[in-house]
């Protein structure tokens, strides 16, 4: 159970860290985050089904494509509401989410699509445990990417500029950071990270138009636990969610269905006990 929960948390971390970036750096709470993940999953499915491209090999291409999409969306829409009331920001991204979700329904029907990847069912046996190979690969890759993102934020000039903007927009602008370009970059990156997580989902599960909402909510649960905008704690918060879900699935009767409600319980608990997040 511990292994199961931990493995799952890798994907959660990758999905949530993009959202944390958007919330932390730009201050935009993107309700369409899960929908970009959904687009990534479909991209992975189509690339595999049409051209036989392995979803993992498609990551660079998919990430670039979604980065471009995110950038375009920032320029045409997000940029205009940066100074608008929070309600307008939420409504805009929520509208985008609804739009994308139903676009997917219209284009690809509501049925889930499963890519028949040859090594999907293969498993590793470690002593008494049997673990799916794709799960291990995805966990390693997702955690690797998340850690790489931390390194970029911590070490590089761009990363430092992003953190500066996150802390104080005006101050960063005064010392010469081009805030608008950083926002563009952060939003594109956020969308690309969601898409990458989506591609990885193709490897383990299937793509469906409605999958986005659940991931948006789980990503929210994670960033609420981490503390809004606290990118560093996302990994730990993902672990909490992954383990809690695995716990419910294993120990609660008929737990498979109940685990879909775990994120809400966590959100509520955090809001009750420590609204600033568990890891601050």
């Amino acid at each position: 159970m511990l292994i199961f929960g931990t493995l799952r948390s890798g994907l959660y971390a990758l999905a949530a860290v993009g959202l944390a970036l958007s919330v932390g750096v730009i201050g935009i709470v993107n309700f369409a985050h899960g929908e970009f993940l959904m687009l990534g999953a479909y991209l992975g499915y189509w690339l595999f089904a049409s051209y036989g491209v392995d979803p993992l090999a498609a990551i660079p291409l998919g990430a670039a494509g979604l980065f471009a999409l995110g950038g375009a969306l920032y320029r045409t829409a997000i940029q205009r509401v940066l100074r608008a009331p929070e309600l307008n920001q939420m409504l805009l991204t929520f509208g985008i989410a609804i739009f994308l979700q139903n676009l997917a329904v219209i284009l690809w029907s509501g049925d889930p699509r499963t890519a028949a990847i040859p090594y999907k069912a293969s498993a590793l046996t470690l002593g008494p445990f049997t673990i799916g190979l794709p799960q291990v690969v995805v966990f390693a890759l997702a955690m690797g990417l998340t850690v790489a993102l931390y390194a970029v934020l911590g070490r590089t000039r761009v990363g430092k500029a992003m953190r500066a903007v996150a802390q104080d927009r005006v101050g960063a602008a005064i010392v010469g950071v081009e805030v608008d370009r950083i926002y563009l970059l952060a939003f594109g990156l956020s969308v690309a990270l969601a898409g990458t997580a989506g591609l990885m989902i193709t490897l383990q599960l299937s793509a469906s138009p409605y999958m986005g909402l659940l991931y948006t909510l789980k990503a929210f649960a994670i960033i609420v636990m981490a503390g809004l905008g606290n990118i560093g704690a996302v990994v730990y918060a993902s672990l909490v969610l992954g383990l809690a879900e695995a716990f419910v699935e294993f120990y609660v009767p008929n737990g498979g269905g109940w685990s879909e409600g775990v994120f809400f319980l966590l959100i509520l608990l955090v809001l009750l006990v420590r609204p600033r997040g568990l890891f601050q």
């Binding site: 201050g27 309600l87 609804i98 029907s109 953190r163 903007v165 809001l271």
Partner: protein, 335 residues
């Protein structure tokens, strides 16, 4: 008193209101008797439109305090399930059961509101969305609630479409009356102050959380009542339908499309959208919600005052432009 009038409508609007409201009311009352024999389908559709209108008008009540609620489907579903269970298992008279549905929605709204409305708006939006999804999980999982198959519900005024129509019309009128009187009362000042700048409102002596919770409870009551009505008229409920995101989305798109923070706007938006949706359904089979998504984005970006603003050009109150000083665009509280 003059100030509150200026708030609600400008002069030509008031004139139109004086003539228009009685006329509209008469038409709405005559409608079922005109259509029941010749066009029962139209009457059936009208029930749908009125349900949608109640949801829209009641959603707007809370929006006036600047909060985005995605829990309207939760209250709608709570009302539907409460009333259905009370009527089938305990044989409570249906009107009473429906009121209990609205009552339970209020209780839940107060609980959720007290917990989350004191925090930043975004926490509230997330919590409401998660609350709805969780209620659906519960309804889907628990055998007592009918699980995934749903519940069969006893009818309200069986075999009388006209009576059913009049009931929901009465509910809508009550909602409109509440919405209208809230906008004319001193509450509207508090709501506007909270929406514009919460910190300033608090300093000026507005009990911010209490007003928000009150608005949330009021809004939830009508959503719960309407959900109960839906159950007893359509006679079957399941978790995927009544707790559907589409309910919450519809409830918020209509006011935004029609014109936020008004009484007429949400009503107008609901009628136009639901009628348009019906016309579109012939061409787009699934995924018609795409229109709602598009409308949301376009309205937020290009027509902040909605249809009402565009149509009449009345000088309604704009949503507050910016409050740069109090709410910096960089929202993170973290490092």
């Amino acid at each position: 008193m003059t100030a509150s009038r200026a708030l609600s409508l400008s002069r030509p609007g008031r004139l139109a209101g004086r003539l228009g409201v009685p006329l509209l009311l008469a038409a709405a009352l005559a409608w079922p008797f005109l259509t029941v024999r010749t066009q029962p389908y139209l009457l059936q559709l009208s029930l749908n439109i009125l349900i949608f209108a109640v949801l829209a008008v009641s959603w707007d009540l809370l929006a006036r305090t600047g909060q985005l609620s995605l829990a309207h489907a939760a209250f709608y579903g709570l009302g539907a399930y409460t009333s259905a269970l009370l009527a089938t298992r305990l044989h409570v008279p249906i009107p009473l059961a429906m009121l209990a549905g609205g009552g339970l929605a209020v209780v839940c709204a107060v609980g959720l509101g007290v917990l989350t409305l004191r925090l930043r708006g975004i926490y509230f939006a997330i919590a409401t969305l998660a609350f709805t999804e969780t209620l659906r999980v519960v309804a889907k999982q628990v055998r007592f609630f009918g699980a995934a198959t749903g519940l069969v519900v006893p009818p309200l005024f069986p075999a009388s479409l006209v009576a059913q129509y009049l009931v929901i019309l009465a509910v809508l009128l009550a909602t409109l009356l509440v919405s209208w009187s809230v906008n004319r009362s001193r509450w509207s000042f508090a709501f506007t102050a909270i929406r514009t700048n919460e910190a300033v409102a608090a300093v000026m002596g507005v009990d911010v959380v209490r007003f928000k919770v009150a608005a949330f409870a009021l809004s939830a009551f009508f959503a719960g009542l309407t959900g109960a009505y839906y159950a007893h008229v359509f006679l079957f409920i399941n978790p995927f339908e009544v707790f559907s995101l589409a309910v919450s989305v519809g409830a918020l798109v209509a006011p935004i499309f029609g014109g936020l923070y008004t009484t007429a706007g949400p009503l107008l938006g609901a009628v136009v959208l639901r009628a348009g949706e019906e016309a579109l359904r012939a061409t787009i089979r699934s995924g018609y919600l795409i229109i709602y998504g598009g409308i949301l984005a376009v309205v937020v970006l290009y027509m902040p005052r909605g249809l009402l603003g565009v149509l009449t050009g009345l000088r309604l109150r704009r949503p507050p432009a910016v409050a740069v000083t109090a709410a910096p665009p960089v929202g993170g509280e973290g490092p």
